[in-house]
Amino acid sequence: MYLLAIPPMLFFFIFKYYPMLNAVLAFKDYNVIKGIWGSPWVGFKHFELFFDNPLFWTLVKNTLLLSGYLILVGFPIPIILALMISELRGKKFKKFVQMVTFAPYFISTVVMVSIIMLFLAPRLGFVNVALNYFGLESVNFLGDPGMFRSIYVWSDIWQTAGYSAVIYLAALAGVDPTLYEAAKVDGASRFQKIWHVDLPGIVPTIVIILILNVGNVMAIGFEKVYLLQNPLNQVNSEIIATYVYRIGLLNANYSFATAVGLFNSVINLVLLLTVNGLAKRLTKNSIW
């Protein structure tokens, strides 16, 4: 049994823990010939470079605004969706709604961005054709930095709301049925029932999902942002993750990019611990 666990544990040490050691690169000047361990120490030089960089605040701001927007809108919607689905009486329709809303979750990021680009294309895109049809001007959605965040967030909701709702639906199924009977006896309306029975019943789940969401604030998906990016919307779409990729892998500035990445991971960890601690104190729910 112990032998069995060796290959997977090796995997974790090689691909998860060894990179953490490699992150000392952030405090060194990487030299290809000397390798990571032979390169000279430079202390916090790369961090200082990053903090003094005029891009620093833009990157932090873009990262926070994008994920803040995503949580603000993307977090409550699946809850509302789940509450509405659980109100449905017809079993078939209920299943159908769940199945349809869950489906876009399986679309890959590349395909999702392709769909966005096809629909929002300046000339032939469906949305602009429709706008023209109603006598409105065409809009270059992806070229407008102001639109970027909304496009990102709302397409994300389209794709994942049904998936996220499943967890809340499961929590709703676990609410004590006697509470519903009591509410009925007391003559509660449907809305009162949702407000006083459903919602309190799923609060622990809500808190945990919120903690996990906040814990991902700085780690917001590189994949989709990178694909949606273009020179026109870069003012708002360049986030820390895409910057690390650009600087590190495209410009081969390994040490600097590692420092930026490390800064990101640490802030993220601190945020997660803070929110988890707060939640523990306020609601007695936490992820451990």
């Binding site: 690169l25 590349v110 389209w158 809305f191 892998l249 990445g261």
Partner: protein, 301 residues
Amino acid sequence: MAIQFAGRREIKESKGDRLFAGVIYAILIVVVLAVLYPLIYILSSSISSPAAVTSGKVWLWPVDISFEGFRVLFNRAEIMTGYLNSIFYTAAGTFISVILTIMIAYPLSRSSFFGRNLFMMIITFTMIFSGGLIPTYMVVKDLHLIDTRWALLIPNAIWVWQVIIARSFFQSSIPAELMEASEIDGCSDIRFIRSVVLPLSKPIIAVLVLMYAVGQWNAYFDALIYLRSADLFPLQLVLRSIIIQNNSSGTMDAMAMVEKQQLAELLKYALIVVATLPVLVIYPFVQRYFVQGMLVGSVKG
């Protein structure tokens, strides 16, 4: 009795409640339409004639049905290569991932396993903190995996979340007594896993296979950073270069400019269909496994 009760409640439902229910139905119908419409639109476009697509004649149903897009698509070498590569990565990657996940999840589910809480902590910590992109890249590079097929199969082979789900399944459905009994009968660990654990774990294996397979089929990021040679690219990367970067290479030079543009546009829709259909078609049949898997995870999580 139960039916009677339900019937009585229907009558008692107040006007406000019925209105409220009506609003919910209305909203959900709009939601369903909003989710379905883009998907139907893309499917319709992909089987319409090139001219109809570019002139905006397609609204809901296909116009002048033609399979021109798919014909051109399957004649392009890079797309076929990408397709075959993706099938390979999905099959091989899923196989490796599922085996490794079971190898760690099963021991960690046994209370007799020494230090299992420590191991569990070591594993879950990687979920909340990582060395970052560049340090991981360096490891892959030092192992000489860059630009090999292994780069897509190994570095992300185990997802912590899957380990958690599998572990809690094993914990709750394989009783320790069974294990003790087999030990007394002189059954080895490996044999116990093969002839008792695996047959009892079909539902969780289905969940693992599906999650990993969909993840592998849809992945592009690892390919983007680790691969250089075009003949190793998975479909998603080919897709990105054709649709997002708009590189319709010179295979269609002979055609008239307008026609070429129309076809390029049609090709995008056809590509989306081809890349997504395999996943969406099997989805309704396997949905319950997904939901099951998420539930097992959320009980513990």
